[in-house]
Amino acid sequence: MSEPFLIGDAMTAGYGKGPDILHDCTIAVNKGEIAVIVGPNGAGKSTAMKATFGMLDMRGGAVRLDGKDITKLSPQDRVIAGMGFVPQNANVFTSLTVQENLEMGAFIRTDDFSDTMTQIYDLFPILKEKRNQEAGELSGGQRQQVAVGRALMTQPKVLLLDEPTAGVSPIVMDELFDRIIEVARTGIPILMVEQNARQALEIADQGYVLVQGRNAFTGTGKDLLNDPEVRKSFLGG
């Protein structure tokens, strides 16, 4: 099998001088696919994703984007290299308007980005309607769309989403999942961390179950959903 588009390979990492949180953990996403990281609270899901984005101290393993080793790059340089990251919290500029949020997302671009903005407004019609409103005044689900839209403005080659559906109602959650699938259909590989394991695995091409910073189960979304062990421990039977 060829190398995945983005891979955090056998990562061992922790914050600052603290203990290791990830142990030999591997997560990856292929071109045009959705990969999902699930697992119990404190399993290191978000940490694993942040490690691929360069926000932790790597003590072992490597991160490769499109075959290139980017382990040593800072998060900012990884954005330039083509990674888009949507943090879980504080992922929009609350005092800026929706449109300004998107403009700031495109800050590193020197070319004309109005096409990208039109695409994002097509993808998230509600944002077009509210483009002159402050992002802080929007609902949770709309904010998440702003956050994803901001990350898409750089035209990333891969998108990382940290719990995009945290704290939104089930109806909004369904809508967000639909939007994420739409983004994936535009050809951008998506790696995301999710609390709602079952729903996330349903849309996932590849799934990773982490436990205590280690890979517990890995497989296609469907396989994991059907795996009796995974069902018993993480999906509630």
Binding site: V79, P87, V92, S95, M104
Partner: protein, 336 residues
Amino acid sequence: MDFLNAIIAISNYVLVPGIAYGSQLALGALGVTLIYGILRFSNFAHGDTMAFGAMVTILFTWLFQSMGISLGPLPTALLALPFGILGTMALLLLTDRLVYRFYREQKAKPVIFVIVSLGVMFIMNGLVRFIIGPGNQRFADGERFIMSARDFKAMTGLREGLAIKTTQGLTVVTAVIVVIALFWFINRTRTGKSMRAYSDNEDLALLSGINPERVVMYTWMIVAALTTIAGVLYGLDKSFKPFTYFQLLLPIFASAIVGGLGNPLGAIAGGFVIAFSEVTITYAWKKVLVYLMPTNLEPTGLVQLLSTDYKFAVSFVILIVVLLFRPTGLFKGKSV
């Protein structure tokens, strides 16, 4: 007629000075609020930065005066102002490079920055006194009045005169221009938006590829312009004395906090709230009341709530009341 005289007296002694002083405070508070919002600390060196900017401007004014260059009816200081701004920019960027950057790299807590700025304040304080001396300097020239009290009386036939000093008119006009330019810059330009974004959410700004060092640099440059303009306008209007600029720190901080720290609109509103409170509370209302009250009820005292020596108490009391009951200020600012 008495009623008109009362209105004119209020305008002359309260309204006009209050608007001019309020504009000066607003410009000072804008600088404080920008530093708080973007660099995230309360800059105690602000007053002395104003003094430094005014000093450089004064030195250039003297140079121009000795060369015989003048602006006719307008003060020569206006011509020297751009040089003052450049000098202050150089000082602030140098201070940032030598002092603040070190603490930024350490990710020092805001309280450390405040103490550091206190040290910077003492250095700037000494620098200004060393160069120009601690005494009073007059550098205003050109026409003194837009309208003098005597002209006004002759024009209207009223007993009360309304005087508008050139420096007061200049202060208001300059403040309006500066505020419009500043708001245009932070709301409409890419750099301005990136400054707001950085102020709003530092981590996300980093993720968006906004270079913090650039944002910091632009902030200091804008602050240099604001402090110098505020310092020069204040110096023209009153007079230049290094110590008064140090004392201005309290009303300026009070303005920024009353308006809501980090909120530019609030800084302007706060400046006027503090200025008018100070002026109305320290004004002797006897004259106005004599015009307005029936003959037998005229006050015999001065009806001055507080002696002008205590004017700083006014900012202090307002500051405490705001911090107790509305810590985020009148406008939506960050809580202190």
